[in-house]
């Protein structure tokens, strides 16, 4: 190959007209010859500089201003939350018997007389009993508590409940910090967090902190002083009726995996779908699970100030489309975001296995958009992703092209009622399948 040929190959490469064979020839030449490589880099540099010079690009400052935006939004929310506390605080002094919240979600939850609970029912101070199923109570101060039956709960007011038996998961926003869950053996005070509490028949209580921290004290006094322990995210403790000792136990979230998603608007996951309780240092980038399509909650009830381009808004099966044909969601629409991920990594005797992983997820509110392509995932991440989280890149869902009969594609179906998403993902070791689901806010 002479220099004329090299220049031709580079020109073809810059014009994006180079064929496979020529590209291989260019690659070989560049590997073998450092002088050619330098010439290539100079040509690329010229080409890139021209593009840079003549393309009107958005100022990177603008792109990154979303990041600033997060902080501004948070400040505003804090102010709103504070004024709500004030409002409800004053209000509660005036009305002696009152509603302290409402039933926000019901998944097969029945009273002891067999009557089903209904969404929208007022929650008043008093007893709540469910024989089975899940019941989410949204308190007026913003606290969300999901009860899993069989369970018995006493509601004192919007800031204090007593769990007699069964299990609750609680998500407590800033507006409801100080929320108390009492059991026969423990007094749990929230310090701005989400956590789970379970009480066995014998009164043994387990407290598991998913996020933030709580203060746990034993109901039984030891001498004159009460024992108190701060429990942080990723930690769990156990208390017993007959002892004042607070035992640290291993952090296991399995028992809360039905109730916990309901706090986040996910009613049910089936098949290989699994909602993940955020633990310590939780983010999609360091979470590997070969067996499940895991669901990570992202921003909740968030209004994007710009329109969001998505891959899919209508019920049916997902098909690839061109960027320009993709639908957009209008700005200022409040949405809650979830990231679904299958991270297949090579494993064991058969590192190249290709299994299908299937699952279905059902949301309380309708799905308004689904994002699957890498570029759109990146764009929507800036708006809906967890700030500071490490999102892996090069993600891909490969739907079956029309007329293609070969095995091994991914399938994604949005059901007609828009509440469920059915996924069948082909494991491809070393590749990451991710889908972002945007759901209408409460």
């Amino acid at each position: 190959m002479n220099d004329r040929d090299l220049k031709d190959l580079i020109d073809q490469s810059l014009n994006e007209t180079i064929g496979e064979d020529d590209l291989r020839a260019l690659e070989q030449r560049l590997i073998e010859d450092p002088v050619s490589r330098l010439y290539y880099l100079k040509s690329i540099n010229l080409h890139a500089s021209l593009r840079h010079r003549f393309s009107v690009k958005p100022n990177p400052g603008n792109v990154l201003s979303f990041i600033n935006h997060f902080f501004t939004i948070r400040r505003v929310l804090l102010a709103v939350a504070a004024s709500l506390v004030l409002f409800f605080g004053i209000f509660s002094l005036w009305i002696p018997s009152r509603s302290v919240g409402e039933v926000a979600q019901v998944v097969g939850a029945y009273r002891d007389n067999g009557v089903a609970y209904e969404i929208g029912e007022a929650v008043e101070p008093g007893s709540i009993f469910i024989s089975r199923g899940l019941l989410r109570l949204d308190f007026s101060n913003g606290a969300r508590v999901t009860l899993e039956g069989p369970a018995e709960l006493e509601v004192f007011n919007e800031s204090r409940i007593v769990l007699r038996r069964g299990l609750v998961t609680a998500t407590i926003p800033e507006s409801a910090v100080g929320f108390v869950v009492d059991t026969i053996s423990a007094h749990v005070v929230d310090l701005g967090t989400s956590f789970g509490v379970s009480v066995r028949e014998n009164g043994q209580t387990k407290v598991c902190v998913f996020d933030g921290e709580v203060e746990v004290s034993s109901s039984k006094t030891s001498g004159v002083s009460k024992l108190t322990q701060l429990v942080r995210e990723g930690e769990a403790v156990r208390t017993k009726v007959d002892s004042s000792v607070i035992d640290s136990v291993s952090y296991e979230t399995a028992q809360f995996e039905n109730a916990w998603p309901v706090n986040y608007g996910v009613l049910q996951t089936t098949g290989s779908m699994r909602f993940v309780s955020p633990g310590p240092n939780f983010h999609p980038g360091n979470y590997e699970d070969n067996e499940h399509i895991v669901v990570f909650p992202e921003k909740r009830d968030f209004k994007a100030s710009e329109s969001i381009r998505v891959d899919m808004i209508d019920p049916g099966e997902y098909e690839k489309s061109h960027y320009d044909e993709k639908p957009t969601l209008v700005p200022n629409r409040a949405m809650t975001s979830y990231l679904l991920q299958l991270d297949a990594y090579p494993e064991g005797k058969n590192p190249n296995r290709r299994r299908s992983v299937r699952g279905q997820i059902t949301f309380a509110n309708p799905i308004v958009g689904v994002v699957t392509e890498d570029r759109l995932l990146n764009q929507s991440e800036v708006v809906f992703g967890i700030p500071g989280a490490d999102y892996p890149s090069a993600r891909t869902i490969e739907p079956r092209p029309e007329g293609d009969q070969r095995p091994g594609f991914d399938k994604l179906i949005l059901t007609a009622d828009r509440h469920s998403l059915i996924l069948e993902l082909r494991e491809n070791p070393g590749h990451l399948d991710q889908v972002r689901v945007l759901v209408e806010a409460d």
Partner: protein
């Protein structure tokens, strides 16, 4: 609140550094991935990763090297995916290009600066072609179609204009003409 202020300062630090080095990062990536649209995507992704990992960047160390490292990983991720459909540069060449680019980065910056005055010297018709074909979202093919001409004609004209600019840069920098003619 002090925490938020420091985050905001940090953000400004990042933007200042990134804006200065973005042309080099884009060029670095383009050499690896080949296609302009892909290079723009990869660069955008890399910038997001840089922002997220900016905590790990030590102030005072070479930002460009740090940015190149992240951009290289993003480019490799992209190539792994693209390789399913078509031939792309392999890892061996990517490593060589990354190493060479790192070593030549300052000289390539100088060439970029020299290009400015060379572009200004282009005759009007050539300037129009370059500014048209290199505008954002435009490909040579789409530009040719818009002009009602064959893409081939523009490929050839651009090849000549780039060669001209190449020689102009070499002259500006007082470098010997390359052996490549």
């Amino acid at each position: 609140m002090p925490v938020e202020n420091s985050t905001s300062d940090r953000h400004e630090d990042f933007v200042a550094l990134y804006v200065r080095h973005e042309p080099a990062v884009f060029s670095f990536v383009l050499g690896m991935v080949g296609r302009t649209a892909d290079a723009e995507d990869v660069t955008q992704r890399a910038s997001m990763t840089m922002w997220r990992c900016f905590d790990q960047y030590e102030t005072g160390t070479n930002f460009r090297n740090w940015a190149f490292q992240i951009a290289k990983n993003e480019a490799l991720n992209h190539l792994t995916k693209a390789r399913r459909d078509r031939h792309v540069f392999g890892e061996k060449l990517i490593e060589l290009l990354a190493k060479d680019y790192g070593e030549e980065a300052e000289k390539l910056d100088a060439r970029r600066r020299a290009l400015d005055s060379c572009v200004k010297k282009l005759p009007e018709d050539e300037h129009e072609i370059v500014s048209g074909c290199y505008a954002e979202g435009v490909t040579i093919r789409s530009y040719a179609k818009q002009k009602g001409d064959s893409a081939n004609k523009f490929y050839k004209r651009l090849n000549r204009i780039r060669a001209k600019l190449h020689h102009c840069i070499e002259r500006q920098l007082g470098l010997e003409e390359q052996v490549i003619r």
